[in-house]
Amino acid sequence: MSLLDIENLSLTIGDTPILRGMELSVAPGEVMGLVGESGSGKSMTALTVMQLLPHAARATGRVSFDGIDILAATEDQMCALRGDDIGMVFQEPMTALNPVKTIGEQVAEGIRWHTRASRAAAEERARKMLDRVGLPSAKFPLSRYPHELSGGQRQRVVIAIACALKPKLLIADEPTTALDVVLQAQILDLLRDLVAESRMGLLLISHDLAVVTEMADRITILRHGEVMEAGDTARTLSQQLHPYTRQLAQASMHVPARARPHGAGSGQPLLQVEGVTRDYPGRRSSLFKRAPDIRAVNDVSLSMAPGQSVALVGRSGCGKSTLARMILALDRPSSGTIRFRGETVTGKNEAELKPARRDMQVVFQDPYGSFDPRQKVEKLVAEPLHVLDKKPTRAERREMVAHALHEVGLDQRDMDKYPHEFSGGQRQRLSIARAIITRPKLVVADEPVSALDVSIRAQILDLFAELNQKLGIAYLFITHDLTVARAITDEVLVMHDGKIVERGKTNEVLDHPQSEAAKVLVTAAPDLHRAIARRMQEQG
């Protein structure tokens, strides 16, 4: 018998349909992967099981957990279930813990509530649980507050809360999306072990097909609130019977077609970074003392040829974004020089930087945050034209914007719209249009596709590749995602603790990493090919 059975579940919030005829089941000890792109209704499925839906939500159908009809259960019955028989782990570890309570209190709270145990007994159990999730009490006493922990550690605390009472079902909603690949691998390992230890059922929700394939016994693929395909993970993904499954899988492994990469070494390098270091002053610990400086970037040197596509990969906090900002002259190095087209950019003021800015543009990660919502597309895309010596007339400006929009596959009529009228993928196209409007020689892209759904991501990668070929733009891709690096770059630089620890041809480095940091990154990175192969092998 299944632990969780969802039959013909439909959900509306206000007048918006979220789920239609949803079917899903989880058996004890089984890992069920629920996959879908944003807006497919996967988080709402989890919240329906927990009965933590927004007020305006209406659910019909049948959800039964361990013989209990969830949709008919009273709030008191649900309170008894939540945290005791069903645990839940959320996406955002940075905000999931109460900042004014210690981690001990927060883990022990659920234990005390459900078991009526004494404070001491509950704390003892909490200590054991934290120990189990990898936060030993010697280093992480119960009296720690959430802000004293890193994102990965906080997610461990959230898992400890969810698993403290050995629930029969654990729901994990994108538990690793906010973490870098190495932490992701660690957290997934932990979840896998916890499930195996106490025969928990796990409902793992993710947008990442590779992650789900590595973890799940069975998989349910959701799109626009409807189940597209469901079944055994290995079979579903190897056969790819349903067109949407195939589309998702192919998009996840997509590599844009690119002609031979531009040869390096021909003539003058485009960008030269020489011995660049960036220190941030340490926090003042008292009136007279300061903590030692934090060295975000430590003596980094690199060079890029015109038209070359280079990836800068590393874990979060390794200093890659700081380095990118210094290259873009948005931040000043503490020491070292950066030369662009042979000219030094370090130490120059805004007026002197204008010629360099013309040839150097940027694409950011967040397609929503990178546009001023109060301005129209025309003005936004035209913003870099500000650095031209000769200001274009209004007609010329419209012409240039129209051309840039055309190049990224948008309609020129789009220039009179506001950014909110576009989808995430379209906005990233706008972002690219803005970056190429001055015909730059270098585009620095900071995680440009990591906020996008896989199918959109594939299209944007294609666009990057196409523009690289057509316009000869050199790219510096900042990413923690090795599949992106593999898909679109010729060379890769691996950064760790502010230093570049390895560099070379992308395929060579990713296939045969030499440095410890690169090895860790490569092993931790989820890979759909590898995951499917392993699944097939396991099942013979």
Partner: protein, 315 residues
Amino acid sequence: MTAYLLKRLTIAIATLVLASMVVFAVLEILPGDPARLMLGMNASADQVDLLRNQMGLNAPLPWRYLHWAGGLLSLDFGRSYTYSVPVIDLVRERLAVSLPLALIALALSTIIAIPVGLFSASRRGRAGDTVAMGAAQLGVAVPNFWFALMLIYVFAVWLRLVPAGGFPGWGAGPWPALKSLLLPAVALALPQAAILARVTRSALIEVLNEDYIRTARAKGLPYRAVLWRHALRNAMIPVLTILGLQFAFLLAGTIIIENVFYLPGLGRLVFQAITQRDLIVVESVVMLLVAAVIAVNLLVDLSYAVVDPRLRSRQ
């Protein structure tokens, strides 16, 4: 923790010193010679000059400031020109009215506002919330002195429950004194309570939308327990901020309210002193009020650290 405390303390002291300079400077540039005021229009120039020397008014400016500031520190505020008594005695006498008034008002406002805010936030959108917030909306709009007039009309003129004004002093026992402070305190407190209730409600609602509230509910805690254990403490910070600001409002409010009720308090003293150009009294009382505001703000800063561990461990 110590770093945070030291920083706040340093800022508080610096603000106090700057404020004292401002007060001194403003009153220094005022037209009107205090010696001339004391002696009257018929005094000769020599007499005025003699008194100026006696009062130290002819000394250089920085020296006079230091002398004055030093006096403040040793609670020697000088003598009032109009009352011809040491200012400290005047202040002490008036403080016996104003301090209880402000404290009763603050207590009343808090006791009313926080439960109303909690009630409203937990019943958001329902009838109780709408009524409570409608009343609060009205309360914010009522000028306290008009409200005071209405209170006098209803409770003193019609019902004759309390005196319409005046203060019998504490000598006659606490009850008559408290009775005459009751209406003024209510008049001061209710508009403030309305503001505080609105802030409490919106702070709670903001917090209730946080991710950690969902985590707490996912533990199986019922809504009420989540509200009390997780939401309230996090919502305290904006509430404390407003509470600190309200203290300054209350102090200023006493000036008008004491005038409405003919209470011999600090507010009335400073108002009369301003109109009578009794500068020594004005300086002293203003400095006292400013010091009180700064001290309360420091207290609020410290209570942030008690509520929020992130401030405590910032090292």
